[in-house]
């Protein structure tokens, strides 16, 4: 088992080194003729009129919060799925199936609530 994870670590190191290597190579090889004006952030050629960290629509925050809830749901369901197979073969899978329905419908209810309150609506 140790050897298997050694291979994963080596792969992670190779991938990271390659990624950094390409970025560094580009920075070293690329030519440099930058007049002052070119370094102004892109706003269609005009002097920047907006602040970089201005306000942003609350929708993005809502999506982030909802994502957390449902991603944790997926994480919680993984051990459930592991247990379900074992107990289904022992004959008491029905209990776990009811647990799944209760858990998923609670979260489905949360989704319906968010939907009804308009958290999933975007202006066109």
């Amino acid at each position: 088992m140790g050897q298997e994870f050694l291979a994963v670590i080596i792969l992670l190191i190779i991938a990271a080194l390659t990624a950094v290597g390409i970025v560094a190579a580009s920075a070293l090889i690329g030519r440099r003729v930058s007049p002052e004006e070119r370094n102004i952030p892109y706003e269609c050629g005009l002097d920047p009129a907006s602040r970089p960290f201005g306000r942003f629509p609350i929708k993005f925050f809502l999506v982030g919060v909802l994502f957390l809830i449902f991603d944790v749901e997926v994480v919680f369901l993984i051990p459930w799925a592991a247990a379900f197979r074992g107990s289904a073969s022992l004959g008491n899978g029905a209990v776990l199936a009811v647990e799944l329905v209760v858990f998923v419908s609670l979260l489905a209810l949360a989704l319906v609530f968010a939907w009804a309150r308009g958290a999933l609506e975007w202006e066109r």
Partner: protein
């Protein structure tokens, strides 16, 4: 753990990473050629090295060199280390995901069972979801550090889409875990076996559709390509130029390749060939090789001849001689194979490692063929469907894919309970 173990581990990692890296230009070539033929053009076919154009594949090398030598524009007042980190992280997240993907079936050589994969991870699916979702940080970093409100909003949009579709991806993967009883991609591929209708694409059709749709969105491909929108939309990478910009697109192509390999393992039986399981192939290895050898010889000769006869003076330089330079060696190789069949055939066909070699070659070819076929669906869809509007993208993810994923999970559990 001795030096042998370490070198085997390093060899696995290097071979698989090299495979992914070398498939990136192939996929870009497939995309450009596919786009060209769908639009009734010829696509890239001019650049050459010593006359070798390789059907336009050399253009990808030329592109890489051009991008590397371009000037990098770094906007004033940005957080420099983070600007460099973002594209590197995007590339890292897309390529490191491959660690859990099997590229061949288990082969027994000299009493040992070997598989062409980095590691048979027990939690392979979780690893895939975890590492690939690091890409969200790359998008956010790129947009937020660029010091303009346009890229900032672009990053917000990209990250929102990314995390929304990740839920659907996780839900679809969960149903597969339920069916196969293992999170390891190798076990899931082995569980499907060589029977066509036992493949998860047929056992779990809804999960397959959800997974594919979510994968398109995760790789930000059309019809979900709002994060980048090549020429029309100002996205998170508006301040990026040169190779630093191209890194995001290399990451996108790596994402497609690794994602296609994951889909091949999860839904199309990985290395399994329909109705020919590994035991059958190993038992008949000698017969397969005995048939494949003359066929290979004849195909090489005919293909070489048909390439060589296309010789025509068109360009007036080395490129004219490319058909001959490629066709003649192919013909010679075919003839050599045919001649060698008589003296060497019996010796090679009766060697001990032949079953292992034949199973490995067929399994690896199956994985590669499935991966490239699925990847070509990405190309096909890109030139077929128009782009969604942003509110449609979010509605599709939250109001259709996520409830469908939940439903699929409950129905799968009910069916498993019913079947015992």
């Amino acid at each position: 753990m001795n030096a042998m173990d370490i070198s085997i581990a390093a060899a696995r990692a290097v071979v698989i990473f090299g495979l992914v890296l070398s498939l990136i230009p192939v996929l870009i070539w497939m995309e450009r050629k596919g786009a060209a033929y769908i639009q009734d053009r010829r696509g890239p076919n001019r650049a050459h090295i010593l006359g070798f154009r390789l059907g336009g594949l050399v253009h990808m090398l030329a592109d890489a060199l051009k991008l590397l030598t371009k000037e990098e524009v770094t906007a004033a007042g940005v957080m420099k280390p983070l600007v460099f980190l973002a594209p590197a992280l995007a590339f890292f997240a897309a390529t490191a995901t491959v660690a859990a993907v099997p590229f061949s079936g288990p082969i027994s050589v000299a009493g040992q069972t070997l598989t062409l994969e980095v590691a048979n991870m027990k939690a392979g699916l979780v690893y895939v979801l975890a590492i690939s979702s690091l890409g969200a940080y790359a998008l956010l970093l790129a947009g937020v550090t660029s010091q303009t409100s346009y890229s900032f909003l672009g990053a917000m949009r990209a990250a929102s889409q990314f995390i929304s579709y990740e839920l659907a991806l996780g839900m679809a993967a969960l149903a597969l875990f339920l069916v196969a009883g293992s999170l390891s991609l190798t076990d899931i591929a082995a569980d499907q076996g060589a029977v066509l209708w036992r493949w998860n694409a047929f056992r779990q059709p809804l999960a397959f559709l959800i997974f594919m749709a979510a994968l398109f969105a995760e790789a930000s491909r059309l019809p979900f390509d709002l994060p980048e929108g090549d020429s029309e939309i100002v996205g998170y990478h508006v301040e990026y130029s040169s190779m630093r910009f191209a890194m995001f697109f290399m990451a996108e192509y790596a994402h497609i390749i690794v994602g296609s390999a994951v889909v091949a393992a999860l839904f199309f039986g990985g290395w399994n060939i329909p109705f020919a399981d590994q035991g059958l192939i190993a038992a008949n290895a000698e017969r397969i090789a005995a048939v494949a050898w003359p066929i290979a010889a004849v195909v090489l000769m005919l293909a070489g001849a048909s390439i060589a006869q296309r010789f025509k003076k068109r360009f007036g330089d080395l490129r004219d001689y490319e058909p001959v330079m490629i066709g003649l060696p192919m013909m010679i190789a075919g003839v050599t194979l045919a001649i060698l069949y008589a003296p060497l055939g019996d010796v090679i066909l009766s060697t001990r490692w032949l079953p292992a070699a034949v199973t490995f070659v067929l399994g690896f070819t199956a994985v590669l063929a499935k991966t490239l076929l699925i990847a070509s669906v990405f190309v096909w869809v890109r030139w077929t469907l128009p782009r969604f509007r942003y509110d449609q993208v979010m509605a599709f993810g939250w109001k259709i894919l996520l409830p469908a994923g939940m439903l699929n999970l409950v129905v799968t559990a009910a069916i498993m309970l019913y079947l015992g």
